[in-house]
C-alpha cells in the first residue's frame, strides 16, 4: 500500500473533520486567490482601458490640478504643429463639458458631452447606427453619439433629434440649445456607471458653447519607429508649459498613487490568509497525529520506515490543502465577481474598469503558495511522528 493510498484511507476515516478542513482551506484559499487577482487586476484593467483609445501620449495644461482640467491655450494651432512633428502620427483634441439633453416629451437629463476631433473609431463600441462623420463630409451641424443608457432613457436612436444645451441642470443660462442628430448609439469605454454621455465633433461643441473653446486634453499617437518617449520629448520641446505623459508614465503614476491602497491590502490579506491556512492545517494534522500516536507506533513496530510515515503525513496534508486549493479557484472566481461589483460602485469609475482580472500568473502563484503551505503545515506533525519512541508509546497506549 502506497503512502498516498494510506493517506487517502485515513482522510476517509475522519471524513467530517477532513470535510471541514477542506471547506476552511477553500474559503481562505478563495480569499487568497482574490487578493492575488487584486494585486495587479486594477492596473492591468487600467492599462487595457488606456490602450483601447489607440493613443499613447496625453497632453494636458501644465498648471492643471489632477481633478480640474484646464483649457490648453492655442490648442488648434498646437495640434497642427504636433502633426508636423516626425515623431507623431495622429493628434486628437478633446474637451469635456456638463450639459443637458432633451428629446421630445422627455424630461431633460444632465449629461457629460465630449467634443472630439477624432472620427472613425474612438474609445467606444458602436451598438447601433454610425460613427461621427468627418466634418468635411458632413452637412449635420451637430451629429452625436449617445450612450446606450441615455438612448434608452430618452427613447432615441440613430436619426432621432436631440436638443443639447451646454449648462448643468437647474442653472439658468443665456446659451441657446442646439438641435443635434443622433448618429449612433455606443458604449463609451471611459464613461462611469450611471453616467449619461454624449460625444460630438469639436465644431459642434464650440457651437453649443457659443465661443471658440480650447481643448482640455490632446491625445497623441506616436509613430511606431519613434515611440511614445520620443513623442513626449518632442512635445515638451515644442510647448514646455504643457505636460505630456506616455501611457506607461500614466500607469506608473497610477501604480504609485491610486493603486497603492489595493496593492497594500492585497499583500496584507494574502499574508494573513496564508498564515491562517497554515495554522488550520497544521493544527488539524497535529491533533490528528496526537490521536493516532498508538497507531503510528504500531506501524513503526511493524517495520514501516520513518520516511514512509513522514510521506504519509505529507500526503494527508497535501490531500487536505490540495482539495481546498482546487475548490478555492471556482469559489474565488465567484467571490471576485461579487467583490468587483462592490468596488465598482466607487463614484466616477469608468464602467470598463475592473479590480479583479483573471491572470494565469495568479493561478500559478496560488498553487505554489498552497504547496508551500501544505509542506510547512506537515512539518511539526512529521517531526512528532518520526521522533516517536515506539516501545514507550505502545506501552502507554496499552496501560492507558
Amino acid at each position: 500500500m502506497t503512502s498516498l493510498w494510506l493517506a487517502w484511507r485515513t482522510t476517509k476515516r475522519y471524513r467530517v473533520r477532513a470535510m471541514l478542513a477542506i471547506v476552511g482551506v477553500a474559503v481562505i484559499g478563495a480569499l487568497l486567490f482574490d487578493m492575488l487577482l487584486l494585486s495587479r487586476g486594477l492596473l492591468d484593467s487600467f492599462a487595457d482601458l488606456l490602450r483601447s483609445a489607440g493613443y499613447d501620449v496625453r497632453v494636458v495644461a501644465g498648471e492643471g490640478l489632477p481633478i480640474v482640467r484646464l483649457p490648453i491655450a492655442g490648442a488648434a494651432r498646437l495640434a497642427a504643429d504636433l502633426r508636423a512633428l516626425p515623431e507623431i502620427r495622429d493628434v486628437v483634441l478633446i474637451r469635456i463639458e456638463r450639459a443637458t439633453a432633451q428629446a421630445a416629451s422627455h424630461t431633460a437629463r444632465t449629461i457629460t458631452i465630449v467634443g472630439t476631433t477624432q472620427t472613425g473609431g474612438g474609445p467606444y463600441t458602436i451598438v447601433k447606427g454610425d460613427d461621427l462623420p468627418t466634418s468635411a463630409s458632413s452637412l449635420d451641424r451637430c451629429p452625436v453619439l449617445v450612450s446606450r443608457r441615455l438612448a434608452a432613457s430618452l427613447d432615441v436612436g440613430p436619426g432621432s433629434s436631440l436638443q443639447v444645451s451646454v449648462r448643468p441642470e437647474g442653472i439658468r443660462s443665456a446659451l441657446p440649445s442646439i438641435a443635434c442628430r443622433v448618429a449612433g448609439v455606443v458604449n463609451f469605454y471611459f464613461a462611469a456607471a450611471g453616467e449619461d454621455s454624449v460625444a460630438t465633433t469639436m465644431d459642434a461643441l464650440q457651437d453649443a458653447l457659443g465661443v471658440p473653446a480650447d481643448a482640455e486634453l490632446i491625445l497623441v499617437a506616436s509613430r511606431p519607429e519613434a515611440g511614445p518617449a520620443a513623442a513626449v520629448r518632442a512635445i515638451e520641446r515644442l510647448r514646455p508649459d504643457l505636460r505630456a505623459y506616455s501611457n506607461e508614465a500614466v500607469l506608473a503614476q497610477f501604480n504609485q498613487n491610486g493603486f497603492a491602497y489595493f496593492r497594500q491590502i492585497s499583500l496584507v490579506l494574502s499574508s494573513l490568509t496564508m498564515a491562517f491556512a497554515f495554522l488550520l492545517v497544521a493544527t488539524l494534522l497535529t491533533v490528528s497525529v496526537n490521536q493516532r500516536l498508538g497507531e503510528i507506533a504500531a506501524l513503526r513496530a511493524l517495520g514501516i520506515s520513518r520516511t514512509r510515515i513522514a510521506s504519509l503525513l505529507l500526503w494527508e496534508s497535501a490531500l487536505l490543502v490540495g482539495a481546498g486549493a482546487v475548490l478555492a479557484l471556482p469559489l474565488g472566481g465567484l467571490l471576485a465577481l461579487g467583490l468587483d461589483r462592490l468596488l465598482r460602485q466607487m463614484p466616477g469609475l469608468p464602467d470598463r474598469l475592473h479590480f479583479f482580472v483573471f491572470q494565469w500568473r495568479a493561478v500559478i502563484m496560488h498553487a505554489m503558495l498552497f504547496a508551500v503551505t501544505a509542506a510547512a503545515a506537515a512539518g511539526y506533525p512529521v517531526w512528532l511522528a518520526t521522533r516517536l519512541p515506539i516501545a514507550a508509546t505502545l506501552r502507554r497506549e496499552v496501560v492507558g
Binding site: R17, L20, G24, Y261, Q264, L279, T283, P347, G348
Partner: protein, 287 residues
C-alpha cells in the same frame, strides 16, 4: 446665501529641494515668510529662521529669498497618502508676486481655487448653482460628500465583505477543532450518560465550553489587534512618510468582534457534540 468668510489657501506644491535651499545670507528685516512641510524641510535641511530662495522653476527664474517662519505637518489625506508632501504655504500676495507674469496684468488677479465656508452648510447645492449661474466658467465643487459619492463608503463595504469571508473560514476551522475535541471525549460522554447525567446538562456543558473558547479566542484576537495597531501604523507611516492613521481598533469594533464570536462558538460547540449527545449510549462505546 454667500458664506460669511472666504478663505484663499495657496499652496506651492512640490517645490523640491532644488528650489528651496538654505541661503548663506542673513535674514533681512522684511523678508516674506514661508511655512514648509516637515518633509520638505527635512529634505532641504532647513529649519525655522533660515532664509531660503524660492523660484518658479529649477533654473531659478524670478528667485526670491524668504524666511522659514515655521514647519508644519501636512494634514493627512487618505486619497494622497502615497504622494510626497513637498509643500510650502505662503501669504497669497507673496506668492502672486512670485508667480505672476509681468507681461500679463490679469495674472495678478488670478488664483487656482477659492475655499468658501458657508454660514449654513446645507446651502452648498444652492450656493453652487447660484455661483455657476453668475460665473459659468467657474467649477464649483462641494467638499462634503454624501454616502453615495464617497469612495470610503465603498471601501467600508469591501472590508465588511472580506471580514464576512474570513468569519466563514474561521467558523469551518473552529467547527473542525470542536469535532476533533468531541471525538476525543466520545467515551467520557458515554460514561457520563450511563451514570445518569442528563442530555440537557451535557448540552449546557458543551455550550458553556464553546462560549468560553469563543470569548477567550475573541479577546485574544482583540488583544492581538490592539498590539498590531501600533506596529501597522508605525510601519506604514514610516513607509509613506505621513501622519495618516491606517488602522484604528475602536471599542465598538472590539465589541462587534466578540458579539460575532459568541454565537459562532456556541453553535460550533453544540453542533460538534450533538451527534454524541443524541445518539444511542451503546453506539458511543462502538457496540
Amino acid at each position: 446665501m454667500i458664506g460669511s468668510r472666504v478663505r484663499a489657501t495657496v499652496v506651492a506644491v512640490a517645490l523640491g529641494a532644488a528650489l528651496a535651499s538654505a541661503s548663506d545670507s542673513r535674514p533681512g528685516p522684511h523678508l516674506p515668510s514661508v511655512l514648509l512641510s516637515r518633509q520638505l524641510a527635512a529634505r532641504a535641511h532647513v529649519s525655522v529662521g533660515d532664509s531660503v530662495t524660492i523660484a518658479i522653476d529649477p533654473a531659478g527664474t524670478r528667485a526670491v529669498t524668504v524666511r522659514v517662519a515655521g514647519i508644519y505637518e501636512p494634514t493627512p489625506d487618505p486619497l494622497r497618502f502615497t504622494a510626497q508632501r513637498l509643500e510650502a504655504h505662503m501669504h497669497l500676495p507673496d506668492l502672486i508676486a512670485l508667480v505672476a507674469d509681468p507681461a500679463d496684468p490679469g495674472s495678478r488677479e488670478a488664483v487656482d481655487a477659492i475655499n468658501v465656508k458657508l454660514t449654513d452648510p446645507n446651502d452648498a447645492g444652492r450656493f453652487a448653482s447660484d455661483l455657476r449661474m453668475r460665473s459659468p466658467a467657474v467649477t464649483v465643487t462641494p467638499t462634503n460628500r454624501t454616502r453615495d459619492d464617497d469612495p470610503f463608503a465603498v471601501l467600508d463595504r469591501f472590508h465588511v465583505a472580506i471580514s464576512i469571508v474570513t468569519v466563514v473560514g474561521a467558523t469551518a476551522f473552529l467547527l473542525a477543532l470542536m469535532v476533533i475535541r468531541a471525538e476525543e471525549r466520545r467515551e467520557t460522554i458515554a460514561v457520563m450518560r450511563l451514570i445518569g447525567i442528563s442530555r440537557r446538562s451535557l448540552i449546557a456543558a458543551v455550550a458553556v465550553e464553546g462560549l468560553l473558547i469563543a470569548v477567550l479566542g475573541a479577546m485574544l484576537g482583540v488583544v492581538i489587534a490592539f498590539a498590531a495597531e501600533g506596529l501597522v501604523n508605525r510601519f506604514f507611516q514610516a513607509r509613506y512618510d505621513t501622519a495618516l492613521v491606517f488602522l484604528r481598533v475602536t471599542p465598538s469594533i472590539a465589541a462587534r468582534s466578540i458579539a460575532i464570536a459568541l454565537p459562532l462558538g456556541l453553535a460550533a460547540g453544540v453542533g460538534a457534540s450533538w451527534p454524541l449527545l443524541r445518539g444511542d449510549i451503546l453506539s458511543l462505546f462502538r457496540r
